[in-house]
Symmetry: C2
Amino acid sequence: MGGSFAKAFAAAGVEVFAWNRTRSTLELAMIETVTGELDETTIPTCELIVLAGYPASTIEWLERYAALVSPGAIVIDTVGVKRVICERCEALCEPYPFTFVGCHPMAGTQYSGFARARANMFKGAPMVVVPPEMDDLERATVLERLKGLLEPCQFGSFTLATAEEHDRNIAFTSQLAHVVSNAYVKSPTARDHRGFSAGSYKDLTRVARLNAPMWTELFLDNADFLGEELDTVIESLSAYRDALAARDAERLEALLAEGDRIKREIEGR
Amino acid sequence: MGGSFAKAFAAAGVEVFAWNRTRSTLELAMIETVTGELDETTIPTCELIVLAGYPASTIEWLERYAALVSPGAIVIDTVGVKRVICERCEALCEPYPFTFVGCHPMAGTQYSGFARARANMFKGAPMVVVPPEMDDLERATVLERLKGLLEPCQFGSFTLATAEEHDRNIAFTSQLAHVVSNAYVKSPTARDHRGFSAGSYKDLTRVARLNAPMWTELFLDNADFLGEELDTVIESLSAYRDALAARDAERLEALLAEGDRIKREIEGR
């Protein structure tokens, strides 16, 4: 995610300073993409800082470097949960003259690493923005500036949300999708289906491949909402299973027709 | 499915006779794509007959018209279950001098209808073929002829399977995918997630939109294998739910890492 931001800004001719916990990745980025290292010297020169790490490391970065961030700068994160992040990061920034704005780009692939990062990763994608408590005028000003700074990323839309709205929705649209996909491949049949895999299998299992430590952290930070979604999908699946076990054609067709109708309604909005 | 076959053959200059239970669809096809109607007069002139209907209507067609099929012709179906179809259709054809070969193209989209049919629908897709009991030489001859006749469809590969192998695999790669996708959108959050939908949600729910009567028939004809897959996925999902409810990071990460490893293994084969 950080690599794609770096590539998008660099491609637009914006000067980028970067840091990565893996030194060789940072060195590769410095040859290919970025101007230099993000450190005590360069942090105060940045107008926008993108913290593209795990939840805990995002908070740690701010604990360590908040005092060095330039007055008026905007710091965003890209973490997939917002309640823990925004609460903690907004509190950390309180004493300083810069603004923290929780962000979550609705983009990415099942791959990770700088080599898979792309300058056009965010092109057309929605960006969810969770601004801190502030008056309407101040918020509008910050958001206009943030949009301007993010222009090289070519986001398709900006969605404002509270941290709670974000976390409830993301539990459904992203976290649940990863759990279901990851669970799907655990069937004993999974290893034995060569020549039988149509598009539906490929789509269902695309995100089965995932970064387990990162998603564990994200899931635990959103355990209440994700837990509800998991209960719901297990309950829904059990209804089909029961109808099938009872060979109840009418019930099974009603369940399928209901899902079809909901999906059409969502698409039609 | 039938429309895509008609368009593929017509695009290759092959003469096509067609039938559809909806007269207006047939009339549209006769203007755009096909030479004429498949009826008592034209059935005996066909070298290949593709029965692209529901399970019950496929069997009914053969009951009614088997006596008219030309000696040496090949009749295939495209039904998504093979045990019921092959057993019944092979028995129906027994007295006649043509060959029935159960088929299932691993292709299609979430849309149906002649307008959505495409001449290149099968290009590169696997075709699963379930040949009847016959000696090896006879089978090889029939398959070579079938491959030749299907050339305009440009299938990417032909996979031979028994009806049971087909049904077990298809329960996992296709039927389960449709149930899970259809169940996924039943969350109350589904109607309220605009601006939050990343690729993972879109992929997971693509086939939520489905033909409920057709899939009901297919699921009931494969209730044993699909029931097992549903039990397995519900059990797998429950393991994540329990680890999450217990805030058991180690267990949750192990479950996710296991799915990731299986998916990589499958991809790497």
